[in-house]
Amino acid sequence: MKIKLLILTLSMILPHLVFAQDRKGAEATENVSVSAPERKPESAPAKKTNSIKQDTVNLETAYKREYAFLEAQKRELAERLRNYQASANREEQALSGKVNALERSSVERSARIDQLSAQLSESEHKEAAVIERSDALETTYLQAEGTLKNHGIEMPEAMKEAKDNDPVKVDFLFKQALSLLRNLGAIQTKPGHFFLANGKQVEGSLIHLGNIAAYGISDGGSGSLVPAGGGDFKVWKNAGAENATVLSNNEQPDVLQLYLFESRTSSIDESPEKTLIGIIDSGGPIGWIIVILGGLAVLLVLIRAHLLRTNSANTQQLTEQILGELASGDLDVAKKSCEDNSSAIGRVLHYTLRHLKDDRDHMEGIVYEAILQESNPLDRFGTAILVIASVAPLLGLLGTVTGMIETFDMITEFGTGDPKLLSDGISIALVTTQLGLIVAIPALMLGSLLSSWAKNIKRDMEHSALKIINVFLGGGLDIDELNVPTVDEAALALGNA
C-alpha cells in the first residue's frame, strides 16, 4: 500500500518537476528572446549593419546551440522519466505480488488456527470428562471406605497410595462389599457384650439377624437388642427374652419379637412414656388449677348426689302407703311411717299430717314452709358445680392464650427452626384446653342432671303434699280415682331429667 502511495506521489511530483524544468527553459528562452531585442537597439546604433549579419548568425547559432542543449536536456529528462516509471512499475508489481502472497499465507494461518482451537476444545472436553469420572471414582472410594469402615474392612494402604490402579481398587471394593452383604444377610452368633435394661454391661453372645435386628443372650439377662450408640447394644425393655433363648438353642420361636433398627451406630432412646401426671404437668400451673377444680367438682357432685339420694324416696309408693293408712283411719300409723322415712318427702308429709286438722290455707302455708326448709340441702352445691363447669373451659382458654404467648415469645427469640422449642408453649395451650373440656363436660352434665333431680324432688314433695291434703279435705279417700296411671311406666329413670 505504502509502496503504491509512494508511486502515486512520485508520479504526481514527477510531471511537476518536468514542468518546472520546462518553465525554467522557457523563461530562459524568453529572457534570451527579450534581452535580444533590448540588446538589439543598443548594439544597433553602435555597430549597425556591420554587425547585424554577424549578430544574426551569432544569435542563430546561439539559439541553435541553446536549442540543442535544451533538446538534449529534455531527452535526458524524458529518458530519466521513462526509466523511473519503468522501475516504479516493476516495484509495484513486485509489491503487489508480495501482498498477494502475504494474504494467502494469512488465510492459511487462520484456517490453521481454527483447526487448532477445535482440537483444543475437544481435548478440554475430554479432560473434563476424565476429571468427572475420576471424581466419581474418588467419591465412590470414599463412600465405600466410609461404609466398609463401619464393618472393620479397610483398603490396604499400598493399594490406596498407588496411582492408576482403579480397576484393582474397584474390584477389591466390590468383592468386599459383596461378601459383607452376604455376611450381613445371614444370622450370625458372635460373642460380645451388651447392656442390660438396668445399665449393667454383661458378656454374652449376640445373635445378629442381618443388620437390622439383634438378640443378646447372657446369664444376667437376655432379650432383643437395640443400638446404644458407638456400636454397643442394649436390651430393649426386656422384650423378647424367650425368643433369644429359643433362638440360641437353634429352634424356631412361634412369635419373633424384634426391634428393627435402621443403623447400628446411632443410639435409640426410649421415649418417655406419657403419664397422667406428666400430661397435667405439661399444662403448666393453669393445668393444675383446672385439675384441682375438677377434683373439687367431683367431690361436690358426690356430696350432692349423696344428699339427694338420702333425701329422695319413692314418692309415689310413699304417698299411696300413707293414703292407704289414712283411708283405714289410723293417722298415727301414717305419721309413724312418715317419720321412719328419712327423706325430705317423709319430713314434709309428716308436717302435713301433723297439721291435717287445720284449715286448707294454713296447711298449705305449713307445707310450703316445710318444702322451703327441705330445699336447702337439696340445692346445696348445685350452683358451685355449674360454676366450675363454666369456669373450666374459660381457664382452658386462658391456658391456650398463655401457651400461645409463650410460643410466640420463643419464636421471637429463637425463630421457627426447631419445632421442639415451640412444642412447650403449644402443649400448654392444648393440654389446658383439653383439661378444661374434660372437667367441664362431665361437670356440666352431672350438674344439670343433679339440678333437675333436685327440682323433681321438690315438685314431687309439693305434689304429694297437695294430693294428701286434697284427699283428706276434698274428694274423699277414693284412691283409685286419684291414681289414674296416665304415665307410661316404661319411661327410663333418665326420664326424670
Binding site: Q434, I438, M445, L449, N470, G475, L482, T486, L494
Partner: protein
C-alpha cells in the same frame, strides 16, 4: 347398601374420630330417643281449640283421648263431675302428672345439645395434641396418626359434634314451643273447669 358394608362404614367413622366418638354416638342415641319421646308424647292429631275439646268431652264421656291435652280434659271432666270441693287444687294435683310428662327428657336433650359440641372440641384438641406430638418426636408421617391423622381427627370430631348438636337444637326448640303451648292449654283447661258450674251431679258432701 349391604348391612356388613354399613357396619364397616360405622366402624371407620368411629376409628376416624378417636376417643370422643363413643360418647358422641351415645349422645346421638340419647338425643334422638329423648326428642322422639317428647314428640310422641306431645303429638296432637288435629288442632281443635281447648274450649271445643272441653265441650266435646263433656258430652261424649266415653270417646278415647287422642292427645295429652284431651287426656287431661277427660280427667278434669271426671273430677268436675264428681263435684269435689276446691276443684282447682285437685286439678293441680291431677295435671301435675301431665306437666311432668311433657317436661320429661327436656333437660337431657338440653345437656346433650350443650355437651356434644364440647365433645367435638375435645376431640379437636386431642387431635391437635397428636399432631404436635408428632412434630416434637419427628414421626411426622407415621402410619397411625402423625400430622394428617391428628388433623383429620380434629376436624372430623368438630364436624361430628356440630352434626349432633345442630339438628337437635332445632328440634328441641320446636318441641319447647309445643311444650309451652300445652302448658298454656292445661292452664286454660283448669280455668275453664273451675269457672263452669257443675250441673250433673249433686255435690258429694265430705265434710259431713
Amino acid at each position: 347398601m349391604d348391612f356388613p358394608e354399613f357396619i364397616l362404614i360405622i366402624k371407620q367413622l368411629l376409628a376416624a374420630g378417636g376417643i370422643v366418638m363413643p360418647p358422641l354416638v351415645l349422645c346421638i342415641l340419647l338425643l334422638w330417643y329423648g326428642l322422639g319421646y317428647r314428640f310422641w308424647v306431645m303429638k296432637s292429631p288435629k288442632s281443635m281449640s281447648v274450649r271445643d275439646l272441653l265441650k266435646y268431652y263433656q258430652q261424649h264421656d266415653d270417646k278415647p283421648a287422642a292427645s295429652i291435652v284431651a287426656q287431661a280434659i277427660k280427667q278434669g271432666v271426671r273430677l268436675q263431675k264428681k263435684g269435689v270441693k276446691n276443684l282447682r287444687r285437685h286439678l293441680d294435683a291431677a295435671f301435675y302428672e301431665y306437666e311432668r310428662e311433657i317436661g320429661k327428657f327436656s333437660v337431657l336433650v338440653r345437656i346433650v345439645i350443650i355437651i356434644s359440641p364440647l365433645l367435638g372440641l375435645l376431640g379437636t384438641v386431642i387431635g391437635m395434641i397428636e399432631t404436635f406430638d408428632s412434630l416434637a418426636t419427628m414421626t411426622l408421617h407415621s402410619q397411625s396418626g402423625g400430622i394428617a391423622g391428628g388433623i383429620s381427627q380434629a376436624l372430623f370430631t368438630t364436624q361430628m359434634g356440630l352434626t349432633v348438636a345442630i339438628p337437635g337444637l332445632l328440634a328441641h326448640s320446636m318441641l319447647n314451643r309445643k311444650q309451652q303451648q300445652i302448658e298454656l292449654d292445661l292452664a286454660q283447661v283448669k280455668d275453664l273447669l273451675c269457672h263452669q258450674i257443675p250441673n250433673h251431679h249433686p255435690t258429694k258432701s265430705f265434710s259431713s
